[in-house]
């Protein structure tokens, strides 16, 4: 009955305001799909992975019916979308999850435009196929007039289930590292070293990493992924067509579980016009790094009648996602060449200079000085672009991002909160301030206040930090032009700061978007309450807007 009533309401809306209400039906199921010719069993949305694309319009009242045909609970989270928190789709934080056989109806008004995505927030379903793009057209139409508009959704597919991967990581944290340093490698390095100083440096490096009980080859916790473009493997070769001279918009979304990519299209300059769904002042680049959960929209203008390769190398250089821009179907561009993997350096441990003389066994990161924090803006500390890009390439840095939308105000912070990014790589769990989600209380904020969050990464890994429901204004040195994002990469050993205007009441997850970091504890709940009111109830049945229906 309830469903009927809603349907009637929707019908009325559709009749009166045709452009401003839309109903979308999504069915979650187990499905076999082919990736590079191999049959893989995935968690699918309407039978697809990396799809279906949801196309909304700014101002639209959307209704999304999500039906769970799995034998387990599921959920859909709208990544980067501003909405009432009980529509955010995170089990036990925003709602109770979607039980098997149940349909949950999401309802909210679209208050923004740009490129976003949606994915499961239940267990490892996201890695196993439940991710797809959202494209929201601005109310006044697209600012950039282009002939072609394609989504390029990057992802990582693994033959093992997410649960099996996590079990191996807990049993043997180095299980997936097949590039550990060896004794013959030491001999090679020593014989390659020409001078006594170089030989000493080789030994010193081994001793330093040995003393820390860490491995500089540990760039990725999990290997064995196949990297996909729009759900297609490198040999499937997803292709977007163009006519020479046309403007083509590519909406890059990183929907991976664990993989950061360095993306480029050899032979084409890319004009970055949007980051995390927000218009930015155009920047011409040859390459950009895209963290898990981030999006970048670029415009390219291929002039020649030939195929161009879209390549996105994983940052551990174990593989690439590949697609093609071509004037005709069936063409392939030059095959990407993987760049050699780099080692983590001393700088990645948060030390700019030599580590000689430091006693790392007694190293207390909490007392380390990560740079002067006195200045109002923490410029220049953010985003370390890859150092191995071809010479002469322009690689996008966060400092290049400047907001194009001046319609919102940036407030000075009322207070500052330091958040250390921490982890135990030997037992494989990740945390903020050395405490896992289950071990820490929620973080309380008052609606309307502006808070500076200072992220100090004390680990050796890049952490793409994601905040639900609220924007992070990245302090990238651009002053009043600084951009807002929903994911911010914090590189190893570095400090990045953002300000957050707590505009939306609710319970908002804050977490590392690397799947196994989130699952093992790198997660917090931000509770934003109106001044003088009690906290909103957690995981209660939504009072308005959404509803369940059984089949």
């Amino acid at each position: 009955m309830k469903l009927l009533a809603w349907a009637a309401t929707a019908a009325v809306f559709t009749a009166t305001l045709p452009a401003f209400a839309g109903t979308y039906d999504l069915v979650i199921d187990r499905t076999n799909v082919a990736i590079d010719g191999q049959t893989r069993r995935v968690f699918s949305i309407n039978g697809e992975i990396a799809g279906p694309v949801l196309r909304w319009k700014e101002g639209e009242e959307v209704t999304v019916n999500v039906t769970n045909r799995l034998k387990e609970d599921t959920s859909i989270h709208w990544h980067g979308i501003l909405l009432p928190f009980y529509m955010d789709g995170v089990p036990m934080v925003s709602f109770g999850g979607i039980k098997p056989g149940e349909t949950f109806t999401y309802r909210f008004k679209v208050r923004q435009a740009g490129t976003y995505w949606y994915h499961s927030h239940s267990g490892g379903q996201e890695q196993e196929g439940m991710y797809a793009p959202i494209v929201i057209e601005p109310a006044k139409g697209e600012r950039e007039k282009v002939a072609r508009d394609y989504v390029v959704m990057l992802s990582d597919h693994h033959p093992m289930s997410a649960g099996a991967i996590l079990r191996k990581l807990k049993q043997e944290p180095g299980y997936f590292n097949d590039r550990r340093r060896t004794l013959p490698g030491l001999m090679r390095d020593l014989s390659a070293a020409k001078t006594t100083e170089e030989k000493q440096a080789v030994i010193a490096s081994r001793l330093m990493w040995g003393e820390m009980r860490m491995d500089p080859t540990d760039l990725a916790d999990v290997t064995g992924y196949t990297f996909l473009v729009n759900g297609r493997g490198p040999t499937d070769n997803w292709t977007g067509l163009f006519r020479p001279g046309e403007k083509v918009r590519l909406r890059f979304i990183n929907g991976s579980a664990m993989t950061l990519f360095d993306a480029r299209i050899p032979g084409l300059r890319m004009r970055v016009v949007q980051a995390d769904g927000q218009d930015v002042k155009p920047v011409e680049v040859d390459e950009f790094r895209i963290g898990v959960g981030e999006t970048y929209d670029v415009i390219v203008e291929p002039k020649d009648d030939r195929a161009y390769t879209i390549e996105a190398q994983s940052i551990d250089r174990r593989g690439f996602a590949r697609g093609t821009l071509a004037p005709r179907a069936g063409m392939t561009g030059p095959a990407p060449v993987l760049r050699p993997p780099s080692l983590l350096t001393e700088a990645d441990m948060g030390h700019g200079g030599s580590m000689a003389g430091m006693d790392h066994s007694k190293m207390d990161h909490s007392k380390m000085n990560h740079g002067a924090m006195a200045s109002d803006e923490l410029s220049g500390l953010v985003h370390v672009p890859p150092v191995d890009a071809p010479p002469g390439s322009k690689v996008l840095s966060y400092t290049d991002l400047k907001r194009a939308n001046r319609a919102y105000r940036l407030n000075p912070p009322d207070r500052t909160i330091d958040i250390r990014l921490t982890g135990n790589m030997e037992k494989f769990f990740w945390s903020f301030d050395d405490r896992k989600y289950s071990e820490a209380p929620v973080m309380n904020f008052t609606e309307g206040e502006t808070v500076r969050l200072v992220f100090r990464n004390e680990t050796m890994m890049n952490h793409p930090i994601h905040l639900h429901g609220l924007w992070m204004d990245v302090e990238n040195g651009a002053g009043d032009e600084r951009p807002r994002k929903h994911v911010v990469i914090v590189p190893p050993g570095r400090t990045v700061s953002v300000t957050v205007h707590m505009t939306e009441e609710g319970r908002w997850p804050f977490h590392c978007h690397l799947l196994y970091h989130m699952m093992t504890g790198m997660f917090r709940e931000f509770v934003v309450s109106a001044r003088g009111t009690p906290l909103p109830a957690a995981s209660s049945t939504p009072a308005k807007g959404g509803g369940h229906a059984h089949h």
């Binding site: 934080v93 004794l183 003393e211 135990n424 030997e426 896992k436 989600y437 289950s438 093992t520």
Partner: protein, 241 residues
């Protein structure tokens, strides 16, 4: 060990396996490691095994161990009162990034049906430079206070071929002649195992051990007509799951 001793452990197991919170970062995991090897020697050939297991979440775990050595002559090898067929049961807690502290009980069967039980406490983890260390000290029913150190290091010759030098040593506070244990440093063993990981979880190996009895332990061992110093070749299989 009495049944009542197991009750707290059973309660802990139930607690560890209890339903999850919002984001389940306290999930229970487990791991079993097992190793079996022939100790090849013209004078003292034997079969040795070691099995360890843990179950728990990141900070709290239960740990079980069973090790033993039986000579080809059919007798349990006491190894100077340092080995026999030994079972241990520990509760362990993560106390720093790389170390678990542990406490528990031990029950050992020696040759001719002699048994010893006792309490143990110690720690295990990863020392700087990646050295695996397991240290326990304890007291047995006969009042002997003893300590045992095991240390090993995985040196990668390739990603699959791994050389593991190891050291075992034990000290005791006083003699326990019934199991041939003498006071002071009782015995030490130095060795090397070279394994090939066909899979990470499945690795056959070859090795060599040098074993030396010292002090009163050496006298007890010599009195029973066994060698006090021994070099043996090792052939074995290491698995985990």
């Amino acid at each position: 060990m009495r049944t009542t001793d197991l009750l707290p452990a059973a309660a802990l197991l139930v607690a560890l396996a209890s339903p999850a919170l919002a984001m389940d970062d306290q999930e229970t995991f487990w791991r079993v490691d097992a190793r079996a090897e022939k100790r090849v020697s013209s004078i003292a050939p034997a079969t040795e095994w070691a099995a360890t297991a843990w179950i728990g979440e990141d900070r709290n775990k239960l740990r079980l161990a069973n090790t033993g050595i039986v000579g080809d002559n059919g007798h349990i090898d006491n190894e100077g009162g340092t080995k026999g067929i030994d079972s241990r049961f520990f509760y362990s807690r993560l106390v720093s990034d790389f170390w678990d502290a542990k406490a528990g009980v031990q029950f050992t069967v020696f040759d001719e049906g002699v048994t010893r039980s006792g309490f143990l406490a110690g720690f295990e983890g990863l020392a700087p430079y990646g050295i695996h260390v397991d240290f326990v000290a304890g007291v047995s029913q006969t009042g002997v206070v003893s300590a045992r150190l095991e240390a090993s290091y995985d040196a990668l010759l390739s990603q699959k071929l791994i050389a593991t030098p190891y050291l075992e040593a034990m000290v005791a506070s006083k003699d326990d002649p019934a199991i041939q244990l003498g006071s002071g440093l009782s015995r030490f063993e130095l060795g090397l195992r070279l394994r090939y990981e066909i899979r990470k979880e499945f690795a056959p190996y070859l090795g060599v051990s040098f074993e030396q009895y010292t002090g009163n332990t050496a006298s007890f061992v010599a009195a029973s007509g066994e060698p006090t110093s021994l070099v043996r070749a090792l052939v074995g299989l290491k698995v985990w799951f």
